[in-house]
């Protein structure tokens, strides 16, 4: 792997750590030499991607990504467009709603609207959503070109719970159903006791850019409620897509593209 790749992987690792971490910790997590990790950290710090607390000597995420994210957001206002819809969906359903974005071949949570209920599902901003074990992942993947699906299913698939689907054939069938239905359903894929539904956010002809999902405790998610939430999330995803990519959306037939 190139030096750049290693440094960016280190940055990614830092972003996943619960909180500020020391040099040795970081080196261990990345499988890097201490000296190498330090050089990377110094370099990343020079550019504002990490910060070092002068007292504790620990490292944390820096401010540089904020600037980049704001620039990206002015060019492609995904968050600012989608957030109000997510809020609306959260208050409509009373459940936790989260938005994810596709980047670097992964789906990452970029916004969460928490349910107001005491018993609710917690989703962390920044968490990575595995394609095969989350409604977001399935909803995203179902509307991707076959090539992406193959790539996602060829990697070894981790079973997070007893219910996690890890058989590629079964998953392909699930994706087919999702595509026909228009939204995905995931029972206990990543955590037991959680049911979620999701739909992709996408320009008509192309790969989705992300997904919006509702996550509810299984105790509140009977068949009818799930269907209701599914239709709601699908409608919201469509409205967000229309706002982002224009109004051509309505005409496009999602099934047509898959024929090739």
């Amino acid at each position: 792997m190139s030096t750049i790749g290693k440094a960016l992987t280190l940055l990614d690792t830092i972003s996943r750590l619960e909180k500020e971490a020391g040099l040795s910790d970081i080196a261990r997590h990345c499988g890097l030499d201490k000296a190498t990790a330090r050089r990377f950290l110094v370099e990343l710090e020079k550019h504002g991607f990490v910060e070092q607390d002068m007292e504790t000597r620990r490292y944390r995420l820096g401010g540089a990504p904020v600037r980049l994210a704001r620039i990206r957001e002015t060019r492609f206002p995904y968050l600012s467009v989608a957030t109000p819809f997510a809020k609306e969906l959260a208050s409509l359903t009373g459940e936790t709603v989260h938005l994810s974005e596709h980047a670097a071949g992964r789906l990452s949570t970029i916004h969460v609207e928490d349910s107001q209920r005491a018993h609710r599902v917690i989703v962390d901003v920044g968490s990575i959503l595995p394609f095969h074990a989350t409604a977001s992942g399935l909803g995203f993947l179902a509307f991707c070109p076959q090539k992406e699906i193959d790539a996602a299913l060829s990697a070894p698939l981790q079973a997070f719970t007893d219910h996690t689907l890890t058989d590629p054939t079964a998953l392909r069938q699930t994706l087919g159903e999702t595509l026909r239905r228009g939204y995905s359903i995931c029972h206990h894929g990543l955590e037991t006791g959680v049911v979620s539904v999701a739909a992709p956010i996408r320009a008509p002809g192309s790969t989705p850019v992300g997904a919006i999902a509702i996550a509810a405790p299984a105790t509140r998610a009977d068949k009818e409620t799930v269907e209701q939430m599914g239709r709601a999330v699908m409608a919201t995803a469509r409205r967000i897509s229309e706002r982002l990519f224009g109004l051509e959306q309505a005409a496009a037939d999602p099934l047509a593209r898959r024929a090739g």
Copy 2:
């Protein structure tokens, strides 16, 4: 410079380009070989920091920084805390208000609340604010330790307009006044016809994390109005700082620290 540094500089360059750019363009802007630029871009793309438009083959900022920025924001909610105050200040004064953050030794604009007036100052999100030629820069620097001031003033200072102060001695005096006054004033420093005032956002004992500024057309900024805006921006900066760092703020004497 290390490879990582070069790659991050390339990323920074892309972020500054008006819009999507081609390979040769980017290589030229960075002073890099075409082959090298490409390797960097591919590596950055793998990690989601840049995206390539498959049709035009041009490169643009990717989605990865959004995830990092959101994580940073949950740990240190600068934007979400400060934005409502900026909004309030904008509607109070009727002028453009912008927030900046200090990272990688630079002050970058991370949020703008536009004035509602027809004749107004435009500030771009993502733009870098030179320390010596903007109210934000002066307001930030004035409250920094002497070491930072020396560093900022030792570099060659560009004159953006006929009014830009570039003499270190004069600037040091301005910084002294700013420190005593509590907010900075900048007449035509970066663009002619613009007057702005700013105040730093900071924890009591330490270097500021950013600044908040009001920018108005000079025609609307007589002495009294400037004073009024200055007091307003200072009060707002203080309130933001209190929200971010706790309530110790009020007790701290900004002049005390500089004695050493």
